[in-house]
Symmetry: C2
């Protein structure tokens, strides 16, 4: 799929023409007001579109003063955007006609394709479009609105409020409803695009446009399933460093994922992989609910700039909501400023003795509107405070009107250069008086959790931005002998296998520069001593080597934990004697000398790389055995990864403290783990034949004592 | 504290007099409209209170047509409820006067006691009240409203809408604001009580009243810290089996807990202990935010009856919100009905071919109001469906008015006997049209997560109720030799110690019937053979026993893993020889023979019992070492516990699958763990001297192979 896409890009039209088309054909235009074909024309006209409008219908005539063309071919113009709303069976013919007119983009509103199992019909469309340099939106969508053109080529709301939030939605019904909802909430849209079955254009293509679109300050995606998660990852990696990207991904739960799959036909994928890659690795802001996403979008869109630091301060007239907000800040990753001296200096003039200048700053229920204003002003003026959470419970002292005037003066008029969120809680008159400010663009919420959640989203975006320059974020490029790995793969292919045998996997590990337990076959006593004392070093394990002896232990052919020359000599003698006794005619090649591993000194980890159905090449890390299997304590990332990604994925697992050493143990060799993750990342990216590598266990010794890939399983693609 | 409280109950007045007082004195009544002393009188009069009102102020005169008494003593009546709003320094004198009038309850609105560190002042009040059979509410509160009287003895809102939700709040500011908020949300109150510093009356006392109060259908608590968590636990245990109890507990986060402690002076306690005991063990419904709590309260209050079963069905016109709702149902513990045959039969008449009769039932965006009504009706009519989640996205086909009419007919008029929640999402007109139904009592939410959360709360309450008859919920009463344990404790006390030595702890374990590794001292070879072969059985460990040899290993006095008589005899000889060589003059008493434990067959767990600062006697269970220390994978319960509690706490830990056996291992002896938990529960409850017992590790062998308390640490109270 990746390749197909690249092939396409060579002759694909610039995505700008989709958002700023000079001409639009509406194929299936209708004069029947109840038909989609009418609504689309009506919406385009009503949106003040300045380009050419070409309604197409075999019946001809006019629709809303526009001449109706009886066929696409009869239009004497090239078409930037064609919107198709004819029945499914006529779509392919319409597409063929579009190609003749060198149409750049085709928005297929019509449903009845992959979403009902008609995969062939959809594939036919895509293949034809690719051959003819056209790009397709949909099918099964409500269309596209772009504030830049402006053009509303949807069959949804006639009026869409222009603004700075771009929405991409996989669900049509939710998308149309979101147009209404955003308008009510005072969220203007720079664009809303329905992607439906995503047969060609998907979120990644659209985000690429939104990155460069000056109108767009925030990108919001509603996703049910991904087709090309790897491309989305790459594009998001760029996008989140520039603009906040909010994602609602449904199908979080097992049953929800099943429902999403049956509803959209796209793979939901494991939710923990999605979270790790999309949220942790590339920094998209994942909202739980639609309401949360809209809260964030509105709040982020009105920010003039990023905060200049982490220090958030809560100012409250109620201790209770102050504590609730403190909890919420911890939940959403907002750091509360802690310098008591500075806080005291700032807030003691406005805080009564029974209040608190600690953060949360409690100016108490006896604070008048004047005190409130002074406290807010003090917080806004202090360079040590970088963001403010203003809380208010209704009290007898407060007047909603006067409080609203405070907010008007200090927030709307003064336009402070630091982020502020407000949460006011009380009865209808109180809240209504204050919530009227919402329509003026003040971020006010009834619940403190909603307010803190918005600030948390802003800080997550802030971290994306400030971490950009991280010196660790350079791509590491470990040296790997890809050619030797390919030789192994070729041999396995020649043998008609998809799995590698143990020695083959070992050769791959060696070529990858990943340490494995070294094994040496000694042919005589002299070699035994040499390997044990000079190469492997005590303590060692000795094993008989003979093709005729399979079960070495049964033959008395294994000696563990040999710690000195005496034990070594005794063991050599004993093993040879036992083997001869066990199978007198066995041909004995020698003994294998390997390192004796003390499991008390090593920690088992699992490091893997695989081609994920959704995200393509990925790496994973977890602590050994039960941690991964039972506790699902494992981290994923999409490749290529940076060193900082590898560090983050190790730090992310709950059992991470075990690697740092508990109960006075030494820290383990985390650097060795990072190195293996980076090496597997490179292999899974470059060796297209490999679908799966799992090293289980990777033994991790104490710091600077290295790691050992003990058992490696490698699978090839079919 | 527990004892003090009991002492009090002997002569304490019935809590009913607080909620249904026949006479109220307002001490500090004022004719100044800006004073609390005026507002309280005004509110009492305005609430239509039918009993006697006695304002008290040395100035005399009248307030709102009531005669003002110049002193409490001059009132010629007994007082059920006195409300004190004089300055802090006069409160104790007022209380003394109240005692003379045989006042039953005193509501101390005045602040300036423990919340600002004035612990002595508060203690003085409590001690005096107890000696005089009075009970105190507060101090530092806004008062009490009771719909039953009716009486509004607060200085908050004048009008409080009566209804069926009882609120107890530790935060005054939040409480007053909640009065306003609940009115706006259409939530009527049966009572709202401000408990403030909780010097005497606390949540438990009030819940006891609400359990029996017919007006109260739902109890809602806002808690920042607990003083007597054990009593709250006991009362909640009863209450949640009768009425839903919703709890907002702030101070969930570490920093939030600190803020709560400095703000209220009460202990927040560890949040995981709170969650385990209050939510899991006794079944209170813990809300994250105030908004969530109010949503639940409103929804639960309007339910006529419990659902008759678990089968929830989602009916939606949008696939997207259907998937979101599915996720939300999993999050909130709502079980989606799964019988596809039955669902198909019910819903295929109303579902187009491109929709889905699977759950979520997707009647598609093309569903008209009529189809919507039919689908809803079908869900309501089916006896196989026990609750319904109705979702709607705004579409061109829907009219908000008509949809509202459907809800009116099918929900408000028909009054279905199963729970229904609605979530409608769209623009202002659409939502406004539908949300108008809110004021009529229809549970409608904009976000599907809010809707599912309400149904989840109802189902949690449902589980409290249906699990009442559980046969496992009988209290187990393991046989324990408390007398012998007391003997040990007396010896330790006599020795002026607070910790038990190893042999003492072993004696406690034996008296408790908890198995420990058996140890036998053999004085000669004959006894060595007898213990090793007849009693302990191979493999065994042998250790030198001599008061003169402390470091047994250093003296060569330990032999592990002896598997047969040869090894036993060799070891005996070697140990004696080494010991003699190590310390020639040592007096050797013999050798100790104990069982050799193969750690591969056993799993380490930690089982403990302690007096928690907040909850009193508690038990804990976790898997050994790192699971508890690093992963914090541990469960707590308040004692006494039932067998079902012990089972649930074991099942609750994330590493529970390890006890069931992973990778083909045998299941471990979970019954043995349950037994120890129950025994420790009984000990910590009955042996008041013990503050702490931690058995670490308890080795758990395979099923029916038992458990062993290897190392036990016991501490006594100071």
């Amino acid at each position: 799929m990746e390749n197909k896409y690249r092939m396409l890009e060579i002759k694909a039209p610039n995505i700008k023409h989709l958002f700023e088309p000079k001409s639009i054909a509406i194929i299936g235009a209708s004069s029947n007001r109840n038909k989609i074909g009418y609504k689309v024309v009506d919406n385009i006209v009503a949106s003040g579109y300045q380009g050419k409008i070409y309604p197409v219908n075999p019946k001809g005539g006019t629709i809303l003063d526009s001449k109706v063309y009886t066929s696409i071919e009869s239009i004497d113009d090239t078409i930037d955007l064609a919107t198709i709303c004819v029945p499914a069976k006529y779509v392919f013919d319409s597409l063929k006609s579009c190609a003749k007119k060198k149409t750049k983009f085709v928005s297929i509103i019509t449903s009845g394709f992959s979403e009902i199992g008609n995969l062939e019909g959809e594939e036919e469309l895509v293949n034809f479009a690719r051959e003819n340099g056209m790009r397709l939106l949909g099918p099964n969508i409500f269309g596209i609105f772009s504030a830049k053109a402006p053009v509303n080529a949807t069959f949804g709301y006639k009026h869409i409020e222009p603004g700075s939030v771009a929405i991409v939605t996989q669900s049509g019904a939710l998308g149309v409803a979101m147009i209404g909802k955003t308008a009510t909430e005072g969220i203007g849209l720079s664009a809303i695009v329905s992607v439906g079955n995503k047969c060609d254009i998907d979120e990644a293509d659209l985000i690429e446009y939104f990155i460069t679109d000056d109108n767009t300050r925030v990108i919001l995606l509603y996703i049910e399933g991904l087709k090309r998660g790897n491309r989305l990852t790459q594009v998001l990696e760029k996008a989140t460093k520039i603009k906040p990207v909010i994602i609602i991904k449904s199908g979080r739960s097992k049953r929800g994922a099943m429902a999403a799959a049956s509803h959209t036909g796209s793979l939901a994928g494991a939710d923990n992989v999605f979270t790790d890659i999309i949220s942790r690795q590339v920094g998209a802001l994942r909202a739980l609910s639609v309401q949360e996403a809209l809260n964030w979008a509105k709040f982020l869109a009105i920010q003039k700039s990023l905060p200049v630091g982490e220090n958030a301060v809560i100012v409250t007239n109620g201790g209770g909501i102050g504590v609730l907000a403190t909890d919420a800040c911890e939940l959403y990753g907002v750091t509360l400023y802690d310098n008591r001296e500075v806080l005291k200096e700032i807030f003691s003039p406005v805080t009564p003795s029974f209040g608190s200048t600690k953060n949360p700053v409690d100016i108490t229920g006896q604070a008048s509107n004047e005190i409130y204003e002074q406290a807010l002003q003090a917080a806004l003026d202090s360079p040590d405070i970088h963001s403010v959470i203003v809380l208010g419970c209704e009290t007898a002292i407060f007047s909603a009107d006067q409080l609203a005037a405070v907010v008007q003066r200090r927030y709307l008029d003064d336009k402070p250069d630091k982020p502020v969120v407000f949460s006011f809680f009380g009865g209808g008159e109180f809240e209504q008086g204050l919530f009227a400010l919402k329509s003026k663009g003040v971020p006010i919420f009834s619940d403190v959790y909603e307010a803190a959640s918005c600030l948390g989203a802003l800080y997550k975006h802030y971290h994306n931005i400030i971490n950009t320059d991280d010196e660790l974020s350079e791509l590491d490029d470990p040296e790997i002998d890809i050619k030797s790995i390919q030789t192994v793969i070729d041999e396995v292919r020649a043998d008609n296998r998809r799995f590698l045998l143990v020695p083959e996997a070992l050769r791959v590990m060696n070529a990858a520069g990943i340490p494995t337990p070294k094994s040496y076959v000694a042919k005589d006593l002299e070699e035994v001593i040499y390997y044990a004392e000079e190469v492997v070093k005590y303590p060692v394990v000795m094993k008989i080597v003979s093709k005729d002896i399979i079960h070495k232990s049964d033959a008395g052919g294994v000696a563990l934990d040999l710690e000195n020359r005496d034990e070594l000599l005794d063991a050599y003698e004993a093993i040879l004697a036992s083997a001869r006794k066990y199978k007198p005619d066995a041909k004995i090649e020698g003994v294998e000398i390997v390192r004796m591993i003390n499991m008390n000194e090593a920690m088992e980890t699992i490091i893997g790389a695989r081609i994920d159905n959704t995200f393509g090449p990925t790496v994973m890390f977890g602590l050994g055995g039960i941690y991964v299997e039972v506790l699902k304590d494992v981290a994923f990332r999409a490749v290529p990864i940076k060193r900082s990604d590898a560090i983050e994925m190790i730090q992310q697992i709950r059992s991470y403290p075990l690697l740092l050493g508990v109960r006075g143990e030494e820290a383990k060799d985390i650097g060795g783990c990072i190195d293996i993750i980076l090496r597997l990342s490179k292999i899974i990216q470059l060796c297209k034949d490999i679908s799966d590598i799992e090293i289980n266990p990777v033994l991790v010794f104490e710091q600077n004592q290295g790691v050992l890939a003990v058992d490696t399983r490698i699978l090839l693609n079919p």
